[in-house]
Amino acid sequence: MRSADPARARILPAALRTLLGAIALAGTAVTPIAAAAADLAAGKAAAGACAVCHGANGVSAMTGVPSLAGQTDAFLEWQLVYFRSGARRSDAMDPVAAKLSDADIRNLGAWFASLSPPAPPAGALDGARMAAGVKVIEKYRCGSCHQRNFAGLDQAARIASQREDYLEKSLGDFKSGTRRGGGAAGAMPDVAFPMTHEEIGAVAYYLSRHP
């Protein structure tokens, strides 16, 4: 009924290039959204408390806890605002976010965004699993909001090189309806709902290994 979307076709070669380890895609040049200036030093200081769970330099070593390093500034800030407003719930984050001022949120967002994203896990890539991940990405059009290199942009999250278990957990939470609400992420429960557990596993394997 609808013609194929050329955007979907383009994801495949890009993903394959990554699979072969050839070239990392160039990031998108972005002009920042107008906002009050952030204080990086203050962000670094405030981030000390985050390290307990999210790891030193924003690289998480804890199961089920996301890495924050290299995440987009706007996404980080929006999630903190959602935790603070009650639109997104987490037993761990609710009490932390409740105490954050607008300035804290801007500083933390800028700080974690300034850090280098986590390196993909060491070890040989399973080509079949990577190819399965590419299929899922095409089917659900992940690159449509998260960008073709999955580095995210503005409030669309960076999902490349995120912890595999966390990617599985968040997609599972969206699928079950445990996680909902929050801006454009309002679309994620509907995107994740028809995903099978195998598909979630495949896309998590792929993205966690995408630099």
Binding site: D5, A35, E77, W78, V81, A87, G181, G183, D190, V191
Partner: protein, 411 residues
């Protein structure tokens, strides 16, 4: 051998697992909770979307103080009109409603909160009075009760203004609304007889809408009665009752992904119950949908009262009933245009003024306030709703800045 080969061939044919099938069956709950994803994502195309698409929303912590004041200097208004900050730190601000005692209630989109802004001798306090709702964009106030649209139901909070510190448990006054997110957010507008008008948007960009969607309904919370007043309506998040005629007028966002300059968003005027405004068959009164027209002609449907332009995203609207603005503004329609999210260079992001008689004849439109778009795809604010204040000034909810702005007339 032949049998074995046959089995082999059968087994290697492309088999689709049952859980891979896309379901369009609206007879189950899952359909209403999670409409098929290709309905709201499926029509995107790279030509219209660009290669590296970016979502549009403001800074998470809003724009306030000096930065907001500096932005307002860029807003162009007619002579003798002035714009100022009424209240900031109202993140994600959407529809506004006045309480009887002067409380300004404000809904929100993604934050799921409702605010109450109270005025203490010119010093305004912004209080979050409700949390954890689902896209409570629409709200209305009548006879002491605050009504909030919570996607699948309309909630009533009696005696709200006396309980701002601890809101009472809500009563559900209407729940015959779908639960899905896409186009599930509401706008509420009461008429003089106690009917509240709201639209039920289809869960798609362009599709044959599921039964009982793509409508405007009116609901009487006192009796629980509901009526369908208009059909063929896509995404309407703004409307008001003409104080002269009692007719309901509403804004409507047209389908996406056709082109930068078509189809036009619309202003509609309901002149009889059950009118059909064309969706999904016909857009802007004269463009049959390339796929979904399916033999229908545009002449079958009620024509728009006004074409507002493609991708301008008209949201909240109000008839001007105040006395502060010059007399020619009385009963004019002001429309808040939220602005584009998927046009190559943004349009809208302004307030438009419509001058019309109650019949919709001799209708003219002019831009009233603009300047929220600075550069091809740069917002400094996005008008989402309007309301007339007691002193006759016009308040603007700006969900990008997270602020309520005030436009006043003073010679």
């Amino acid at each position: 051998m032949a049998v074995a080969l046959g089995v082999l061939i059968f087994a290697s044919a492309p088999a689709i697992a049952a859980d891979q099938l896309i379901h369009y069956d609206s007879s189950n709950k899952a359909f209403w909770d999670h409409p098929p994803a290709d309905w709201f994502m499926g029509d995107e195309n790279t030509a219209q979307k660009g290669e590296d698409y970016r979502l549009t929303s403001g800074p998470a912590t809003g724009i306030s103080g000096d930065e907001l004041a500096a932005n307002l200097k860029k807003i162009k208004l007619p002579k003798h009109f002035h714009i100022s900050v009424y209240a900031d730190h109202v993140l994600s601000a959407r529809q506004m409603a006045w309480g009887d005692k002067g409380t300004l209630f404000v809904g929100s989109f993604s934050l799921g909160v409702v605010y109450a802004i109270t005025d203490h001798g010119g010093k305004r306090e912004v209080k979050t009075i409700l949390k954890g709702l689902t896209m409570p964009t629409g709200l209305a106030f009548r006879d002491g009760t605050l009504y909030v649209g919570d996607v699948s139901k309309i909630l009533a909070y009696p005696d709200a203004e006396n309980h701002l510190d601890q809101m009472p448990a809500p009563k559900v006054v209407y729940d015959d609304l779908p639960s899905y997110g896409p186009h599930g957010w509401k706008y509420l507008a009461f008429d003089a007889h106690g009917w509240v008008y709201t639209a039920i948007g289809p869960p798609c960009n362009e599709c044959l809408p599921p039964t009982s969607t793509a409508q405007v309904r009116r609901i009487n919370p006192a009796t629980g009665q509901a009526e369908i007043v208009a059909l063929g309506v896509r995404n309407s998040v703004g409307g008001d009752v003409d104080p002269r005629s009692g007719d309901y007028w509403f804004t409507e966002n047209a389908r996406d992904w056709l082109a930068d300059d078509k189809p036009s968003d619309k202003l509609e005027h309901i002149t009889r119950m059950g009118q059909h405004f064309g969706f999904p068959y016909c857009h802007q009164g004269d463009i049959p949908d390339p796929v979904y027209a399916m033999g229908h002609r545009c002449s079958e449907f009620s024509p728009p009262a006004a074409l507002l332009g493609a991708h301008v995203a008209p949201l909240g609207m109000k008839f001007y009933t105040g006395k502060q603005f010059p007399r020619v503004y009385r009963n004019n329609i002001f429309i808040a245009e939220h602005g584009s999210w998927n046009r190559h260079s943004y349009k809208g992001g302004r307030i438009v003024r419509i001058v019309t008689d109650p019949q919709g004849k001799d209708l003219t439109q002019v831009v009233f306030a603009e300047g929220w778009i600075q550069g091809p795809t740069t917002y400094i604010g996005r008008p989402a709703d309007l309301i007339v204040a007691k002193d006759g000034s016009l308040l603007v909810a700006d969900d990008f800045s997270g602020a309520i702005l005030q436009i006043s007339y003073k010679k």
